[in-house]
């Protein structure tokens, strides 16, 4: 660990929230260092070939990967942003506020930032069932990466597990890639994603089995089928077991916030089911209980990419303000605008749950 780099704002994670936070902080003249563990910036956006919802402000009607390109274009306009890809933040050391990083396999260095935005995203959840170790059982993120980033067709016939937005959207994208979708199983009694996403795949002949789950994967060396079954109110399998011939089982059963660095930093954490796991307590402007650390995007609670981008912007403004960059009027103006957008995005049926979750982890303001 030879080098110690100093920076005003370190952004950890180069997805929609991190890129937005970096752009916003940079626009106030902060020196920004962004680290991204993947080979490319953009996070999950680069795999999203569907058009986004929201309003013009969140670029509704634009495909996800295009939004990533637009954010990168915005960032490239700032000379004060340094982005490292293939670079993982491996630890936070509270005693001196240093973040350790490893780039590629063996290049270690330390960063000492004045402020940090944790935009570390999320991890996919899995559910246990016999044979779930077989090749052919994928997370939805991996299927999207294969198809939409590398242009590799993951298989010929898929069973999708989960009818949230990810399960529904990835099913649609699989059909676009020429993969047959044998069906989608969903444990709840209605689809969890947007109804219109479900309608899109239904009219292409994809059955959605509500109150069903996968009970077993079939195959010796790799997946050759799956067994699905209805479940009762207590999620216990009941009734007839149905076999489906598939060579891929795609898991889209939810995400959990990636929060290890927040724990390391000693941020006050709270378990919020509506936000899908442990999240940091934060004030309205995304500052955690640690006065130098902010959080944004899925790391702050699982939500849509459109809200992640707005949260990133809010965290960006707020860090700049804490560093004394920019005018009070400008901060207030931008924050008011971003809060208005967030409130709009959360005003619908799906947003109700998010708001309920946020009420459990948002504080009025931190005592200074």
């Amino acid at each position: 660990m030879r080098t110690l780099r100093e920076t005003d704002v370190m952004v950890i994670g180069g997805g929609p929230a991190g890129l937005s936070a970096a752009a916003e902080a940079a626009s106030f003249g902060c020196d920004v260092t962004l680290v991204e563990s993947d080979l490319a910036l953009g996070g999950q956006l680069i795999k999203q070939t569907h058009k986004f919802f929201g309003s013009k402000d969140e670029r509704a009607g634009t495909r996800g990967f295009k939004i990533s390109e637009l954010l990168l274009e915005e960032l490239s306009g700032y000379g004060n942003v340094k982005a490292y890809t293939n670079c993982t933040a491996t630890g936070y050391y509270p005693e001196d506020g240093v973040v350790t990083c490893v780039r590629a396999e063996d290049e270690y260095f330390k960063i000492k930032p004045k402020k940090i935005v944790m935009a570390t995203g999320a991890q996919e959840r899995l559910i246990p069932f016999p044979n779930n170790h077989l090749p052919g059982v994928y997370g939805a993120g991996a299927v999207q990466t294969l198809m939409n980033v590398y242009g590799v067709k993951p298989g010929d016939k898929v069973l999708m597990v989960g009818a949230g937005n990810i399960g529904l959207i990835v099913s649609y994208q699989l059909i676009q890639a020429g993969v047959q979708v044998a069906g989608i199983v969903e444990a709840m009694d209605k689809v969890g994603g947007y109804w219109v996403h479900a309608a899109k795949v239904r009219r292409l002949g994809v059955p959605i089995y509500l109150r069903h789950t996968i009970v077993e994967a079939i195959g010796e060396q790799y997946v050759t089928g799956a067994v699905i079954q209805e479940i009762d109110e207590r999620f216990q399998p009941q009734g007839e077991r149905k076999s489906v011939d598939v060579d891929i089982i795609c898991m889209a059963v939810g995400l959990s916030p990636t929060c290890e660095l927040l724990w390391q930093a000693g941020c006050e954490m709270v378990f919020v089911p509506e936000l899908c796991g442990y999240v940091a307590q934060r004030d309205r402007n995304m500052r955690t209980s640690h006065k130098d650390i902010w959080v944004a995007g899925d790391a702050a609670g699982i939500e849509e990419a459109s809200s992640a981008m707005v949260e990133g912007r809010i965290a960006g403004v707020s860090t700049a303000r804490a560093l004394g960059r920019g005018t009070h009027e400008e901060h207030e103006k931008r924050l008011a605008e971003y809060h208005r957008r967030l409130d709009d995005l959360r005003g619908g049926e799906v947003g109700e749950k998010i708001c309920q979750g946020l009420s459990c982890c948002t504080v009025d303001c931190w005592e200074v």
């Binding site: 569907h50 058009k51 986004f52 919802f53 929201g54 309003s55 013009k56 509704a60 009607g61 495909r63 009818a163 059909i175 676009q176 020429g178 009694d189 209605k190 689809v191 947007y194 109804w195 219109v196 996403h197 479900a198 309608a199 899109k200 795949v201 239904r202 009219r203 292409l204 002949g205 994809v206 959605i208 509500l210 459109s306 709009d344 995005l345 959360r346 005003g347 619908g348 049926e349 799906v350 947003g351």
Partner: protein
Amino acid sequence: MTDKQKLFNSGILTEERPGAVSPPRDLWENKKNGLVIIECPQRIPCNPCHTSCPTGAVVPFDDINDQPQIDYTKCTGCARCVAVCPGLACFVVDLTWGDESKALMKLPYEMLPSPEEGRQVDCLNREGNVVAKGTIVRVTEPMHDKTKVVQVEVPKDLVMDIRAIKVV
């Protein structure tokens, strides 16, 4: 839960609901170029149908989560919303097209193979069942973003069933 409710919960529209209503029949019958049908029965944060509408037929939203309401006197059947809607929930139906038994539908399409004019296609209902054969009349890509708007001649009595095509 009723079977109808179950179907709806899995993404099949079973009856008219707020955000999913059909045009007034008398206006629709004689409206050259057609009128839009939007099937958006859930409050979600999304408004491109309104912001892209060149005539103001999709009336302004108070809240971005509002469901689209249509002023059918203003709709020209231009199908811009068909091309723009991220939910692929807009469809234009022209009942004045062709002879008595035919109608023209303008449907969004993002699949392969590419649709070609003059070609016969399968017409699918909301559950993906083939309910008729149709003929592609015209293919456009209004936003130049790979979402095509395919104009298909279909049997008139099936315009409230057909919601997609399959190019075979």
